[in-house]
Amino acid sequence: MKKKFSAALGICLLLCSSSFTACNLPGLGSFNENVLRVASWDEYIDMGGEVYADEDAEDFIAWYYETFGIELNENTKPLYEEFVDWYHREYKDKEGYKEDFEKVEYVALQDNETMYNKIKMGDQYDLLCPSEYMAIKLKNEGRLQAYSADFFEKSNPLNYYAQNLSPYVDSVLSNPNVGLKEYLAGYMWGTTGFVFNPDKIGKTKEESREIMSSWHCMTTSECARKITAKDNARDSYFMGLGMYYEETLLALDKNATNYASELARLMNDTTPQTVNGVRECLRDMRENIYGLETDEAKTDMIMGWLDASYQWSGDAVFILDEAESESNLELEYSIPSSASNIWFDGWVMMDGADEHISTAFINFLSLPQNVVRNMYYIGYTSCMAGNEVYQYADYSYGDENGDAEYSLSYFFGEEYAPLTVSSNQLRRQLFAQYPDEETTKRLVVMKPFEHEDNERVNRMWINIK
């Protein structure tokens, strides 16, 4: 009997371990009248507290106080907790005010796919913050609810989101090809590219930059066992497309009217023939690289153990900052000259969500003082423009004695003067946070794969890696 018991227990444990590690199923929640349920992938809202007790934060705290007149310290509450008081203060006497609103329940999930799986299993949130491709997927499956026109109305004094949204981000989000206009409120955005050590790839810095401006750096001997790729099908497939189509992309006429649509078509191509071509590129890549990673490369780049890595711009900024302070390395960030990815994380409402509180929450996060706090905490670039955010960029990267001018008028608006910066910033953090206007022209939104294509691409990738 005992034997049987232990055998059954053994199998049971195995089952649990394999199924739990595979799809991660904690308890499911549902909509709740007086609670706003919010989920994002990764920790994506300023949690306050410790981060402002750090010595490194002193300078920022002083600047923040000077700009907004608000003090930040170790007792600062997470932003989503501060929202409750703010809501009751600002929305009282306004239409739709909910007297009984209690709190925000915030959950940080591992990644977009985990978020999707949880929702598929029946979990309910008012607000989600997925990346654009996941938002499109959720929308196509009818799981999202559109924002009403009021939310985008700039004349309403409480609509901070509509007032502060960057014109550039607005234009990308409004693109009918992306199809998220009424469904997604932009939150953070960025590009993908290569973080690299210019002294370690080619013989000279110039040569290194040249190598790293091409997708083919993944397969060159200069980068053999020095570079990492991302351990997920989407980023790798995009990279594979970049390698497969690089010559075609470079041959396109950048001034042609159909340049943007042609770029988008090529970099979203999932026909069986293309998948076969990409497979060969990725196979070469797999043999050449140091390894695949989800997070490990950050530390390895910072410590100088690794010389190049494919990264999201937000993480790139973090790596560049830390490598400089920890290891005294001056790393750089490059965006391939043929094409690269522009990504968005934004707020979407699940079908059945409480729109009133949800939009109030987004507007709260779009207040300049909160935008800056989130940018400081997360390290990514907000979709919000506005004077204070511009000042924050100037505070972070401006240099009175700088030898270069960097225009961000495409992002903030025509009235904003170029920043005076030191010229190495044109290849470093500033460029990673805000690419120049010329670069933005070759950025492509990567759409979710259609069902069959998704299976084909994923199977191909799983078989290669």
Binding site: M1, K2, K3, K4, S6, A7, A8, L9, G10, I11, C12, L14, L15, C16, S17, S18, S19, T21, A22, C23, E113, Y116, N117, T228, D231, N232, A233, Y290, G291, L292, E293, E296, W305, H451, N454, E455, N458, R459, M460, W461, I462, N463, I464, K465
Partner: protein, 284 residues
């Protein structure tokens, strides 16, 4: 006061209810879900399409299986598991034997030395091991080193699971058997092979299944210690689920499950006639 309390009548069967429920919800139901996903398509209809993809990437030939990456992954996992189990056994048996036979008053202290590492979160331990390998310079150096590091990690992680059951069986062996053997003229080695070893078989089998089965799927070790350059079956299943290919993933999970069933059966995990032999020496 106490006299008025109604008496609770427990039959032994009632005590089995919590476990029965647990079994139903966390073993039977998930198993059925896995089977359902393995043999249906997105519309919920019976389909063997996803079974085909297990055998080849394009799902067009069963014979491609032996050149497919799935096959290589399974073989790799098998090798890693077998090697880890063998090494664990080679290390654990002498250790368990020495501790069990030691004349020290506080044997449990000795045992504790081997168990204490289990109290530290294993992700932390694996991370520490990674740092160490990096320091020595064999971290992600080549494919061969990667396999070596994975096995090292598995052994490091699962060794206590091998030591404990063997120790428990050895310590419970009646000393009079050994004394009788000596009286009848057996040498120490002969007494060991004729008495200690056969009587500790249950512990070995238990240890083997405790190490072999998890090391097929514990991809945290292989991922951390090889920069994701060594893929084992557990990671394969994870990849399929994360790629929204639940049907493929479920079928591989099922294959793995059958495989584990087989191993448990081969190591005698289901045998009822051993009850008498192992009474009092069973573990866990």
């Amino acid at each position: 006061m106490t006299k008025n309390k109604p008496k609770l009548h427990f039959s032994r069967k009632l005590l089995a209810i919590p476990y029965g429920l647990f079994l139903a919800f966390f073993v039977v139901v998930p198993l059925l879900i896995i089977i359902y996903y393995a043999f249906t398509d997105d519309a919920g209809k019976f389909s063997l399409d996803y079974v085909k993809y297990f055998f080849s990437e394009n799902g067009d030939s069963f014979w491609d299986f032996f050149t497919s990456s799935n096959f290589r992954t399974i073989m790799r996992s098998l090798f890693i598991s077998l090697a880890s189990t063998a090494i664990c056994l080679l290390i654990a048996y002498p250790v368990a034997y020495i501790i069990a036979k030691s004349k020290l008053k506080n044997k449990s202290m000795l045992l504790l030395l081997f168990i204490v590492p289990m109290w530290v979160n294993f992700v932390l331990r694996i991370n520490a091991l990674k740092e160490l390998l990096q320091f020595i310079g064999i971290y992600n150096r080549s494919n061969g080193w990667n396999i070596f590091n994975t096995i090292l990690g598995m052994v490091y992680d699962f060794l206590p699971f091998m030591i404990l059951p063997i120790y428990t069986t050895i310590i419970k062996i009646d000393n009079s058997y050994l004394e009788a053997a000596k009286d009848l003229g057996a040498t120490g080695a002969r007494a060991f092979t004729k008495i200690t070893l056969p009587l500790s078989k249950a512990g070995i089998m238990s240890g083997v299944s405790m190490v072999f089965l998890p090391s097929m799927t514990n991809y945290v070790v292989s991922n951390y210690l090889t920069y994701s350059n060594v893929k084992i079956v557990g990671k394969l299943i994870d990849d399929y689920f994360m790629g929204d290919l639940w049907h493929d993933g479920s079928f591989i999970a099922l294959v793995l499950l059958l495989f584990m069933f087989l191993v448990t059966w081969l190591t005698g995990g289901f045998k009822a006639d051993e009850i008498t032999e192992t009474r009092g020496t069973s573990l866990w």
